[in-house]
């Protein structure tokens, strides 16, 4: 597929805008870097569903071979939104193309005033150690003569921004670990 008109305008227009508004003190580095990306020879289109509200609007995502997004817009074939999107939906590509995205595992020691970086292996090992210690220390086998086998000391929060399959994996894992403090956005 050819580069879309909208992505083309964005990639060429950004540099020009930079020259015009640079004196205003705006940080133009992201747009300049964006414009400097080599124009891809082809784009692949995928369909997706907006991650914001519960309407479930469709969007299309156009990416190059390196998995970078060049365009996102409303899916004209989607029966609910028929191509339209709200302001949040229209900005979806900025969730992906965003210098503020977390790229590394971060860790903050007790009392520290800054983050450190960890590898996944280090982090998961440390988390599992802490989880096991807390779970086992706060384990309750029985209560008022009833076998309860649960941890009162660990809680799990969140899930409405996860995919359904991920929610299932999360509840399966947490219930298996004996958690009873399980809550998420639906309660508030």
């Amino acid at each position: 597929m050819q580069l879309t008109r909208r992505a083309f305008l964005k990639s060429t227009g950004a540099a020009g805008t930079g020259a015009l508004f640079g004196f205003l003190g705006l940080d133009l580095r992201p747009s300049v870097a964006y414009a400097a990306r080599a124009r891809p020879s082809r784009l692949t289109t995928h369909t997706t569903i907006c991650p914001y509200c519960g309407v479930g609007c469709g969007a299309i995502v156009q990416v190059d071979d390196d998995g970078r997004i060049w365009n996102m817009e409303g899916d004209p074939d989607h029966p609910i939104n028929e191509g339209s999107l709200c302001s949040k939906g229209a900005s979806l590509h900025q969730l992906h193309d965003n210098a503020r995205r977390l790229q590394k595992v971060r860790y903050r020691k007790p009392g520290a005033d800054r983050w450190e970086e960890l590898s996944w292996d280090q982090a998961i090992k440390m988390i599992a150690e802490r989880f096991k210690k807390t779970r086992d220390e706060t384990w309750m086998e029985s209560e008022n003569g009833h076998t309860v086998n649960r941890t009162n000391g660990v809680a799990c929060l969140g899930g409405a921004s996860l995919d359904t399959e991920e929610c299932y994996l999360l509840v399966k894992a947490m219930r298996a670990c004996g958690l009873v403090w399980i809550e998420h956005q639906a309660r508030i």
């Binding site: 509200c53 519960g54 971060r106 096991k132 995919d163 994996l169 999360l170 399980i182």
Partner: protein, 832 residues
Amino acid sequence: MTNHWIDMTNADVVMICGSNAVENHPIAARWIRKAKEEHGAVVLSCDPRYTRTTSFSDHYCKLRSGTDIAFVGGMINYALRNDRVNHEYVRHYTNATFIINPGFDFDLGLFAGYDADRRAYDKAKWAYELDENGVPKRDMTMEHPRCVFQLLKRHFERYDVETVCSVTGAQQEEYNKICDVYTSTWSPDRVGTWLYAMGTTQHTHGTQNIRSYVILQLLLGNIGMAGGGVNALRGESNVQGSTDMALLFHILPGYLKAPEAPVQSLQAYLEKYTPKSNDPMSANWWQNYPKYTVSLLKAFWGEHATKDNDFAYNYLGKRSGNLSYISMFEAMYNGDIKGLFCFGQNPAVGGPNSNKEREALAKLDWLVAVDIFESDTSVFWKRPGVDPSQINTEVFLLPAVASMEKEGSVVNSGRWAQWRYKAAEAPGDAISDAAIITKLVKELKAAYEQGGKFPDPIVKLTWDYGVDEHDEPEIHRVAAEVNGYYTDGPNKGKQIVSFTKLADDGSTCSGNWLYCGSYVQREDGKGREIEEQGKHLTTIQRDGATLQTINRMARRMREVDRPDLIPAGRCRGLNLDWSWCWPVNRRIIYNRASVDLNGQPWNPKQFVIRWNPELKDGAGGWEGDVPDGGWAPGTRHPFIMRPEGLACLFATALADGPFPEHYEPLESPIDNLLSPQQNNPAIKIWEPDKIGDRGEYPIVATTYRVCEHWQAGNMTRNTPWLVELMPNVFVEMSPDLAQSKGVDTGDWVRVTTKRGQLRARVLVTRRFEPFFIGGKLVHQIGIPWHWGYNGLATGDSANLLTPHVGDANTMIPEFKAFLCQVEKSEREEVTA
């Protein structure tokens, strides 16, 4: 939602009360506009503030925050007094005819059976009177003095127009107009839809707010109908899916109950929670509870869940007491909870009484936050005004991927499960939540194989998802397990096509019975899903075999492309071949209530289902939507999930009464004008010393959202375009209040409550007007709640002001009505 987004276009009257749909669900509002433009539907907006939704409406009536029951109670009274009731519907499809025990009573704001010490009711006082067969007694004339219809009339006759307007601050003329237009949908060929959101639920009487809508909709015969229903406009892309999957303390996937401490065996559990009905007309669908429970346990523990070990029922922890969100933060604050996983949620901004919740986080030994941006919650230890050296919580912040960087499904508010694909590569080390959970499970399995407390449920947990070298599971295999498959018998290994095939003997597994039918064998497919090519046609691996399957959630066949497949007169928009909808792809639930006892639609111009005697070679069959059960018309009651089989005008299971009754919010500017009972008598008061006095805090406050931001803001406050559109928190107030406080638009004010304070700029607007409540002038302000101390756009959180108190049934916090004071302030930086 009982119905779905496109269905709004089928309505004759659209009531939007407790929602600002045009602001918060703007694309769905297209369908409301189509209803106006295409067939002259009338749109009603009832809200404390003149919102974007109001500007879209034909009639507006204001009401003070927290007075929905008085407002709708008056509409119920109006319908009953003017006989705007669909009598056939009410008689045959609701419990209006049921006789209630003689012990039932209502006096001085309390129902029979109240125990002030426990702040709870003895609900036995509200029970149905039963006949010798154990079936509820009915009076089909609905004239018995103790029948529900007469009790309903008596209960709501106190809600006359004068009283309602005095309580709510509504103008009588506007209020009467709303009553007249909305109740016009009592006639079978007119239908009204009721749309609500958090403006309804976030109150100490939120559940009863919804009950009042339900009662009115039932009297008018609007439930089950195209263009009708009671529709919660859900605010997150997958809050429906996450709720179905039971990331809540009180349930297991598919709305099964999370076991409680005294329920020690599987047999005791199934006996306690499987409802019984002696009425042969009641389908009593939950009688299948044992099949769904055993199939879930099989999905969790596979071959380790056997008949001999109660299918591993004892592997589930047994809960005691209320463990809901507010309770969780109270326990954290008290130091009882030591470790917290936080997946994509931002309680430092989104929870009530934020100061307390932020302090609670500091009591943790460790916090694991999973997000795509650095959230306010993850940096609570360096928020303004605190000394990090005094906070000893270890914090892990794990980088997750965004929605277009992974594959899986999300369920919209209309219960449509829609599949999306991995389009882009995630930045840096970010991985999916599925992979994060898998890494953790792998590590814990290894750790507990070495020993630890009660290791079996972890060690024996099935996790057979073809996990790759990066710990990423094949998400299709997860979806297939959620659907369920045969674990024994001649079909072993094959996908199950419907929850009617689930068994309680261990021969089937299903991670969520409601999702049975979402991911099925190719040979069980039919129609367009096998005739047309698409990415919904999939293959999955199981035990070395390759299965040809259909991922129905990925179907993309619109009905507008094949109008020839739709029976003439069927309602618009069902889209039965687009995505998949629980249960069993039924797009409008309770649709057996959309037809009369002969199976003929109340509204033939746009039927949902219809009995066609010519189908199935003259045996007869249903056409249209997937019916709520295939039984012939008139042979089963329509509300199949209720043991009664009928919809409940009178509800015997709620904590705070069988009928809705108006109580003031916990903090209110006036005494309750309807009874001496000031607040909901069944709520838990967590912090009696944090309730503001109306003398000190005379102004009503509410919170809400704006289109450009989303929830606690961690995604949108890090999105440059959206920050540019809506950079700052603000306080909306009327010109009258602004003048009395000596402020104008752009000035800074300090808003204080008994819990905390917020500083923000003022937006002076006529969208707020003062109310006359019980003859007294009452001001109300409003604050959008998206902001926090971290991210690209920062500002004070409105939840610094809100109270730690929740609804009597659900414990949803009362974000929407509390008392505050406002004063002019100099500009200051965000403090906390």
